[in-house]
């Protein structure tokens, strides 16, 4: 991974802001979709696509690419917008989100957008698919290859039982090139996670499943990069990064308000949001 300079951080901050503006624009146009999660994860997506991932937007199916699996598919506006800003899609295509015939389905579907790693939306399924990819790669090479496998998850989806089955298998198989990043924004569709179904003590839960765990500020570029670097250096264990994020980050009237989990801004709200983002 390249050196993280101050200039690069400033450049990525601007990129993340542009991605947030794209997210707002596409949701206003779509008239439905999820707002809080994509805004909250925009910084992590930016770091992954513009600093961490070994990938090639001009050759999306490059065999040796790192794999990034979005488990909580409902935050796909962040995925689509970041991929567009990386060169996988034209920016204009973002406006087709959720429309009939669009490649940008309401939840990602690989039959429509062939170069995403999997379809997702129903929660709790991404981690085990990432584990499967890791295992297949290890089987092919007889050892861990240079590829890294990333799975992005929401905190709410940790309530799905399938996740805990997957956690057991990853540590059993000592998948050291697997890194999970949890969007710990504390909200889910009907309220705060700790009211709906408490996840804490979250760090200790993963540790007890024999994972390497670190907790970071999910909006601090330096911390995101360092944590991923450290996670990759861990031997014989999978890693999880609990990224504390602010749902709706960057738009004052959306931040930490679970009501923005599953609804889009109106045209007027979108304009206000974009004005705010442009000031940052």
């Amino acid at each position: 991974m390249p050196q993280l300079t101050d200039e690069k951080i400033i450049w990525m901050e601007e990129k993340a802001r542009d991605i947030r503006i794209s997210i707002i624009e596409m949701l206003v146009e779509a008239g439905s979709g999820h707002t809080a999660g994509p805004l909250g994860m925009a910084d992590i997506f930016t770091v992954l696509y513009f600093h961490i991932l070994k990938h090639d937007p001009t050759n999306p199916m490059w065999e040796d690419r790192d794999r990034l699996i979005l488990s909580n598919g409902h935050i796909c506006p962040a995925l689509y917008a970041t991929m567009a800003h990386s060169g996988y899609l034209k920016l204009e295509e973002l406006k087709t989100l959720r429309q009939f015939g669009s490649r940008l389905q309401g939840h990602p579907h690989r039959e429509f957008l062939s170069f995403i790693e999997t379809s997702s939306g129903p929660l709790g399924l991404g981690l085990s698919q990432t584990i499967g990819m890791c295992l297949a790669d290890k089987m092919d090479n007889g050892k861990f290859s240079g590829k890294q496998f990333y799975c992005l998850m929401s905190d709410g989806e940790l309530q799905e039982g399938n996740v805990w089955e997957a956690m057991m298998l990853a540590s059993k198989e000592r998948l050291q090139n697997l890194t999970v990043i949890i969007d710990r924004n504390n909200i889910q569709i009907e309220g705060f996670t700790e009211d709906i179904m408490p996840l804490e003590p979250l760090k200790e839960k993963w540790q007890s499943f024999n994972w390497d765990v670190r907790t970071i500020d999910g909006h601090n570029f330096q911390e995101i990069v360092s944590a991923i670097g450290e996670a990759q250096a861990v031997f014989a264990k999978p890693s999880v990064i609990i990224a504390n994020t602010i749902a709706g980050k960057g738009v004052s009237f959306m931040e930490i308000n679970y009501k923005w989990h599953g609804k889009p801004p109106t045209k007027e709200e979108g304009e206000r949001a974009i004005t705010e983002l442009k000031l940052t």
């Binding site: 399924l125 085990s128 499967g132 295992l135 297949a136």
Partner: protein
């Protein structure tokens, strides 16, 4: 009156007809598929020996993954492995895979169109003493409704072996339904097998008055029933359906046209299974009177396979009565 062209087991009507569990055929077939292609791999949810995946796991331990009692993980991990070019076979009891993990199969295997092969062993009511919790009689219904999915239900161990080998060669998701108990060997190594094709196994030399369309081990009961009618001078043909999806429309319609009356036979709920699939074909193409043999809106219970097949109405005499009834309806 077995169809000679198909080179079926000529000792089928003997008292001591050879009997082998259908799942055994899968186990042997998977080893052959594994010999032929190094990308064939196995995953199991703690039922390796029961599902006969142990034959593969012992020969290719480096290509086998034990996920523990976690069928949801079984399906989703396999989807990820298929994304990297593997041809994963996943095995458990049908009640748990595809029973418990249906949504995982829908989203990550069928919707993604990943070539994972789902092996549901111990299907049907004949799993016996374990009781109703373990008797999957809904699996055909929940799998044949999925786009992209191929659904196979072999009639004996030899057909199961061929189905397994054929399945490894197609880039599609597949469900194969297996039974636990020893059942009669109906086919031979020489009998042709093709996904999507149904074959007439039993055909008296005159025009059929009734066609029986059967799947799984009950094809044997269907043939015995047809044989009894043949001895009474009544012509009943038996069509074996190993491929429930894709379904051989042409063979079904031809049999309906020839006989004018059909009976479906399956070890499954009559709702949503083979009988329903045939009825869907008939109403849209060539409606004829039809009777459905299978479990009628009930859960199973403990008992011997024979007791349960009798109690739930799938014995040879039940099939005979259904044939008589459908002849009456036709006339």
């Amino acid at each position: 009156m077995l169809n000679n062209e198909l080179k079926l087991n000529t000792k089928l009507f003997n008292e001591d007809v050879e009997q082998i569990p259908i799942r055994q055929g899968f186990g042997e077939g998977l080893v052959i598929a594994g010999d032929e292609n190094k990308n064939v791999i196995g995953l199991c949810a703690d039922l390796n020996e029961s599902t006969k995946m142990n034959l593969f796991a012992e020969k290719y331990p480096e290509r086998f993954i034990q996920v523990g009692v976690a069928e949801q993980n079984l399906a989703t991990v396999a989807s990820g492995m298929a994304a990297m070019g593997k041809i994963p076979f996943i095995s458990s009891y049908a009640m748990f895979s595809p029973g418990r993990n249906w949504e995982q199969i829908r989203t990550t295997i069928a919707y993604n169109d990943r070539p994972v092969k789902i092996i549901g062993s111990h299907a049907g009511i004949s799993v016996g003493p374990d009781g109703g919790t373990h008797q999957a009689i809904e699996d055909i219904a929940i799998m044949r409704v999925l786009p992209n999915m191929i659904v196979l239900s072999p009639c004996d161990a030899i057909e199961a072996k061929k189905a397994t080998i054929a399945t490894a060669k197609i880039d599609k998701p597949v469900y194969i339904r297996l039974l636990r108990e020893k059942t009669p060997i109906i086919t031979t190594e020489e009998t042709p097998f093709e996904i999507g094709k149904a074959k007439v196994f039993f055909a008296p030399p005159m025009k059929a008055q009734v066609g029986i369309i059967a799947t799984g081990a009950l094809v044997y009961n269907a043939i015995l029933a047809a044989q009894r009618f043949a001895q009474k001078g009544i012509s009943v043909k038996v069509l074996n359906i190993a491929s429930i999806r894709p379904l051989d429309f042409e063979a079904i319609i031809n049999l309906a046209k020839e006989s004018g009356a059909l009976v479906s036979v399956e070890e499954h709920q009559i709702v949503g299974g083979l009988g329903s699939a045939i009825a869907e074909v008939l109403v849209q193409n060539y409606p004829v009177p039809m009777e459905l043999i299978g479990v009628h809106d009930k859960f199973g219970q403990s008992g011997t396979p024979e007791e349960l097949i009798e109690h739930y109405g799938m014995s040879v005499s039940h099939i005979e009565r259904a044939v008589e009834k459908v002849i009456e309806r036709k006339n």
